[in-house]
Symmetry: C3
Subunit: 354 residues, 3 copies
């Protein structure tokens, strides 16, 4: 990154592109975007998290993206509604995507009946199965495996060593990071622990438009029917999605989460890292699950839950407060027991004297 | 799946294949198998979980696999001892496995001294190392790496991008899903946190017959000797098995479990998702470990354990009940303290009056 | 392993190589190294863990590596300062690394502008991107993907199916096990749960010399700037390292740990398996984090912490002791309540009689 030569742009031009207002010198030239600690002359930086506000005066950056509550500063400012959103936009300006000009490599293996759109990119070492369909703008990096009858819709990117098993369907503008596995067999065995008889997994995985899935995440195919990731959902690295799970639109699933078979999540659900969900439950829209939680039962919409087993976040906070007081509570209990014994003794004496 | 054309079969024919009894119309034609909510005319469905029994009368399926406790229904029934087992069998009838006719691809890399049985399937992009042996009926999908001196026994299937390091041994009818790593170095360093001196990992992994291992699971080679997964054991996705672990026959290890070095599990052990086991422990036959547990010590056979650190499931239930009452207990403790103070006060007065 | 023919060496020669002293027969011949339970005639074994000391007299090994506190035995001993360190050294003697003589395969895909040192090993099926640099002694196994502008320094080993995204930098003598992903996009979305607008991840990953990373571990690239694994750190399998994390020198990160974005760890930090760290925290030098902990805030240096949420290990032990006594505490509380009621009753009577 350091060795990429960047084109300079005047701050007022950048602000216009972002829909923001400059406070300070409009004509300073911006060459790059850097974090607030690393930024220097020629750099634009940003403050998205209020707890970094104190760094505003110290930064050596030529300009800073800030929210409207910052009124003035010795720095050049670009005031925008949402600095993190503006950063996302600015990055597309300063870091346009680089593309190799590969088309369909002669060193890719294309099976009989597969259809590949003319402007798709298929790197060497890719395998495309029988009757698979690869639409326009798709990029398949080396080591990608596309099973028979798979469909990859327009402009999706599959990074190296992604595996998509037979018959699965991937929507438009989907991003699958390296090592993702889509459509492996669900974990279904009759008489578990005894015969472990394999139940054939004959369903598929369907991934809708604008989904992004992190490196080495695994999504099992439906046992029957489908495992379904709906539009706009983003899944982080090393997540496990079991057979017949459904995840609603625009949800967020953080790294190392595990979701067991046939559970159904609503829209805009956010699951914190390393949380686990048992199978066959329903989680409502807008639910937030704290990291490392264990969700063992249905959860109605619009709630924040924590803990393993999970409870409302509010109750969890109260419970945790108690847990940290447990040694103290235990001591209190001992001292009360002793006091009661003394009282009983005294009363016995009083009674005997009466 | 939806676009596969299925052959129809009369219900009596299906029942005969499954060893079941028809109640209702024997001559209805079955084309496909679907879940109870999706099934319609021409479909066979099933009720394996008693809590879905109420769906029996509502389903549009042409027939339903049920257990013997279902005596009658307006639906056509196939009564079998174990509906889930029968489903597994029925699926093999309606979804026979499709095979590509590949044999040994010219685009696979076969090293010197490797022996590949004539009817094995080796896709393009596979690498087979020196003196490796691939027996009859084995399927190696694209991107599979077979290290030097590895042995893969009859009818095993290695899905895309599986890596098997040097000298490991895979039994018969083993299934390794995409991205599985077998035989990576165990995590062994002398003076950890100081020199971190690597201890060479010179052992192997041995996987016995009929084992299935889920996508992106990792199994480290022995430091010395072997890591050993015994016959019939099934391991889910993203599981970590450390060096020199031994897992007994017919065990079940659910997704994202981690088992630390040199621990030994008995037969028919079932480990719930995201559980962790420390190293150098023994877990007896038929033990069940609840999801997210932390197993820190030996566990005798035939137990159910839960929690982190683990305890008997029964004790865990009692303890959890208490934890959810903690805020209440704390309040009780406060009110008791106050009452005792009042009592002490009163007794002081009584005593002074005596 | 079993079928490798080993060269024999006299025990005195082995002891000299290890800087140890023989007690017993110096001329016995050693052919192999095995664990204490498996070792027999011709084998050297070791006792690194004091709890296996009782096995010393029972082993059939021809010699045993022991620490200086073992004064005598009926076995032949090699006394060394640190038996586990000595084992590591002895293994390099008896198991010299086997190398294929591959050089740069004609079946590897080398992009324009890539520079590959003459004595590097590049297996078939490797992809090396534009302007990448592969230094001398590097080994790239089949299925490895090297992105554009990536730099891999001397003598590093990348096992099969490793992916290194564009511009990342790998130091000297680094080992990346099979399926490792370096440089995937960090999980950065503006308005999460609503728009999920992707924030371009334009930073890199830098991995310093002598780092080893376990199978299927994922390390995301910096959002801006870099994710940085410093010299000598060892990371186990299936670990998640988020964008802009920094891990100090000689640290140890055990399997399935997750470290969230922008957190910074000091030197010689040891993180137990399945632990999770939230983002934007600082963890000081020499901190030890117990397995399955949840670290939610900054941690000063030289501490042991446990639990989720984390606390000092000492406090955690006390708290756990209380938790296991909770059912008992709850009973005590009930009985105290009853006793107090009785006392109140009695006092009421006494007062009324006064």
């Amino acid at each position: 990154m350091e060795n990429m030569k960047k084109t300079g742009r005047q701050l007022r031009e950048v602000a216009k592109f972002l829909g923001g207002t400059v406070i300070g010198e409009e004509t300073v030239t911006i060459y790059n975007i850097r974090g607030i600690d690393e930024a220097g002359e020629g750099d634009l930086t940003f403050i998205a998290n209020p707890r970094y506000k104190n760094k505003l005066e110290e930064t050596a950056a030529s300009a800073v993206l800030v929210s409207p509550d910052v009124k003035e500063s010795s720095r050049n400012l670009v005031v925008v509604e949402n600095p993190y959103l503006a950063l996302a936009k600015a990055l597309t300006l300063f870091y346009p995507e680089e593309r190799d000009s590969v088309k369909v490599s002669e060193d890719a293996y294309i099976s009989e009946g597969a259809e590949i759109a003319e402007d798709a990119t298929v790197y060497p070492g890719v395998y495309v199965g029988r009757n698979a369909r690869i639409e326009r703008g798709v990029i398949l990096y080396p080591g990608v495996f596309i099973g028979n009858h798979v469909m990859i819709d327009e402009n999706s990117i599959l990074y190296p060593n992604v595996t998509v098993y037979r018959r699965c369907r991937i929507g438009k503008r989907v991003i699958l990071h390296a090592g993702v596995v889509v459509g492996s067999d669900g974990f279904g065995f009759a008489n578990p622990g005894k015969d472990n008889l394999k139940v054939p997994q004959v369903g598929i995985v369907e991934i809708d438009d604008d989904v992004e899935i992190g490196a080495n995440t695994t999504i099992d195919r439906g046992s029957l029917g489908k495992t379904w990731i709906k539009k706009g959902t983003k899944i982080d690295n090393l997540v496990q999605i079991a057979h017949n799970v459904v995840i609603g639109e625009n949800s967020i699933v953080v790294a190392q989460v595990g979701i067991s078979g046939s559970s159904r999540l609503g829209k805009s659900v956010i699951i914190g890292g390393q949380a686990g969900l048992v199978g066959h439950i329903e989680v409502g829209d807008n639910v937030m699950v704290a990291a490392q939680s264990g969700v063992h039962d249905d959860v109605g919409p619009n709630q924040i839950i924590s803990g393993s087993p999970h409870m409302s976040h509010r109750k969890w906070l109260r419970t945790q407060a108690c847990i940290s007081k447990l040694p103290e509570m235990r001591n209190t209990l001992k001292s009360l027991s002793k006091k009661i014994e003394e009282l009983e003794e005294k009363i016995k004496i009083i009674e005997s004297q009466a």
